[in-house]
């Protein structure tokens, strides 16, 4: 169930969203390329990291979806997987890593602690990383089974396919809304 905001409208009502048939084909092609070659930045903090390890290994292979290569530098990654709890001390670090990533980038909130703080509703935990950075896919579960995360990757791939892509993207992306 991807959001309607990201699906290309058949009839575009706004002029800057309208795409010609050539642009549509290019967008589909670039989208296809981007969705099947996700380079992840696994921002692993806590217990969900164990399920992340299982996900990368032989049984629940994430390589089949093209998303196997973890790039441990944010500048080369396009999928930021926030795996585990983020607390108030780690929040500036996460924000910095997100800002260092180059466009296009997507964020997956892996686990219920990253999605909404989990059951740690106390002085130390950020109640969901969407309070700090914008998130594309939320995976609930404590920890989520690897099959759930694979489902999330497939949903994210569908979302990426439906987003408008350009070959030469000259406009600056909007800065993520946050207080500064």
């Amino acid at each position: 169930m991807s959001s309607d905001l990201d699906t290309l409208p058949v009839i575009a009502t706004r002029r800057d969203e309208a795409q010609s048939w050539l642009q549509k084909i290019v967008s589909k092609g670039v989208g296809w390329g981007r969705k099947y070659s996700l380079f992840q930045y696994p921002f692993v903090t806590a217990c969900c990291g164990m399920e992340y390890m299982s996900l990368q290994m032989a049984r629940y292979d994430l390589d089949r979806f093209g998303a196997a290569a973890p790039r441990f530098t944010p500048r080369q990654a396009d999928l930021l997987m926030v795996v585990g709890t983020i607390n108030c001390k780690q929040a500036p670090v996460l924000r910095r890593v997100y800002e260092q990533m180059a466009e296009p980038k997507w964020v997956m909130a892996f686990g219920v602690c990253a999605s909404s703080g989990g059951f740690y509703d106390n002085y130390a935990t950020v109640q969901g990383i969407d309070r700090i950075i914008p998130v594309d896919v939320y995976v609930p579960g404590c920890p989520p089974r690897p099959e759930q995360v694979i489902d999330a990757i497939i949903l994210l791939q569908k979302k990426i396919q439906d987003q408008p892509h350009k070959l030469f993207d000259r406009e600056k992306p909007p800065l993520p809304p946050a207080g500064r």
Binding site: A46, S54, A58, R59, K89, Q90, V93
Partner: protein
């Protein structure tokens, strides 16, 4: 801090003046499992000083537990040492039962030991895999995770979750074994033994692996005790202290197993400790499964254990007991107790203070890894930067228990 060494004017072979570099191995780093910030002071490639900054996963375990009932604490304890969560559950349950002066049934004791040892096998497999991964032997981690996945399948059939099991209850355990579980577990253990022997054959006498780990991160026995090491890291230095042998709890006094003890206290010894303990845990599980007899899995007292559902739906006393326990929590008598078990990393202690109510007044956790982290600067002084990573891995730092 910049320090300049100025050579003598006529010293032809003196090195050029250098400054020490402070390198930040930050909280998000592939080699720091979990989140620690190291401020490494380097002289070229040699580590001269190390400052550790933790707290990047502090989730407020103790404060959250103070506002949950005694049984609601179990999921919080799961997520402490999350690779071997049943051991934390059992440790906490033993502490509460010590305060309540409860005697748990025999079958519950055996079940707790079986599941604890299975999770200990998972923890050691994860560590062995990580040690291989950090040194570039990436096949090892795939084998280790395959065996770990199989064990988790058995635990899923038993507890419902792969990782955070929430299996122990105050007075016993939550569920009994399903049909055919014992045979499947024995087959899983056989497969784990194959994987373990393969890892042992590949790594323990491997020239490259041994050269990188031997002599690195060594600590003497007296120093280790002074710092408060426990568990495999302490036994690697030569001190044969194992809580399961020194003060046996549950059924460890009826089971025949050995405790491996090392000699050098370096990283290779710590690695070999874990491989040996994999063998011993396998022995323990097999003996327990043989010795276990059918029986009750939780104490029959309705003040501590939930009554069975037919009684809850059928009798007034059952409904009342159920309601009181869920809403107000088990009434643990006022007092304080400290209970300790041998977790995968060392002595895991719970210090509980109760004020007589349904919620804990204080839960203090003795994380086994704190003393090892305190000693890390000493262990890596004079080592190369590339040695910092295996030494840090061999301590088995699990962020959940270090940063409660």
């Amino acid at each position: 801090m910049a320090e300049e060494r100025v050579p003598a004017a006529d010293d032809l072979l003196a090195p050029l003046p250098t400054k020490k570099m402070v390198l930040n191995m930050g909280p998000s780093h592939p080699a720091t499992h979990g989140v620690t910030k190291f401020l490494v002071e380097l002289d070229g490639e040699t580590v001269t000083d190390l400052k550790i900054d933790i707290g990047y996963l502090h989730r407020g375990f103790e404060k959250s537990c103070e506002s949950s009932t005694w049984t609601q604490v179990f999921p919080y304890t799961d997520r402490l040492n999350y690779v071997s969560s049943i051991m934390n559950n059992v440790g906490y349950a033993l502490a509460v039962e010590k305060l309540c002066k409860l005697e748990i049934p025999e079958r519950a004791k055996y079940l707790r030991v079986v599941t604890s040892e299975l999770h200990r096998i998972c923890d050691h497999l994860t560590l062995v895999g990580a040690q291989g991964l950090e040194l570039g032997a990436m096949t090892i981690v795939i084998f280790a995770v395959e065996a770990r996945d199989l064990i988790w399948d058995r635990l899923t059939e038993l507890c419902g979750a792969r990782l955070t099991s929430n299996y122990a209850r105050i007075g016993g355990v939550a569920r009994d074994l399903p049909e055919g579980w014992i045979e499947k577990t024995l087959k899983t253990l056989d497969r784990t033994a194959e994987v373990r022997d393969e890892i042992d054959a590949l790594l323990s006498r491997n020239r490259i692996f041994a050269d990188r780990l031997r002599g690195v991160g060594a600590i003497s026995r007296a120093d280790a005790l002074d710092y408060g090491f426990t568990g495999p890291c302490l036994r690697a230095t030569g001190e044969p202290y194992d809580v399961r042998k020194a003060q046996p709890y549950l059924v460890y006094d009826r089971i025949d197993f050995d405790v491996p003890v090392g000699s050098n206290g370096d990283t290779l010894d710590r690695f070999l400790m874990r491989v040996e303990e994999l063998r011993q845990s396998d022995r323990i599980v097999r003996q327990c499964l043989q010795q276990m007899a059918p029986g009750e899995i939780i104490v029959e007292d309705f003040r501590y254990a939930l009554p069975p559902k037919p009684l809850v739906y059928g009798t007034i006393e059952g409904v009342m007991a159920h309601f009181k326990q869920i809403m107000e929590g088990i009434k643990v008598p006022a007092g304080e107790a400290y209970s300790y078990t041998e977790a995968a990393n060392g002595e895991l202690g719970f210090y509980l203070v109760s004020d007589g109510g349904g919620r804990p007044y204080k839960i203090g956790l003795r994380a086994p890894v704190w003393p090892m982290l305190t000693a890390l600067p000493q262990m890596t002084k004079g080592a190369l930067l590339a040695d910092l990573v295996p030494v840090y891995d061999s301590i088995n730092y699990i962020a959940g228990e270090v940063e409660q």
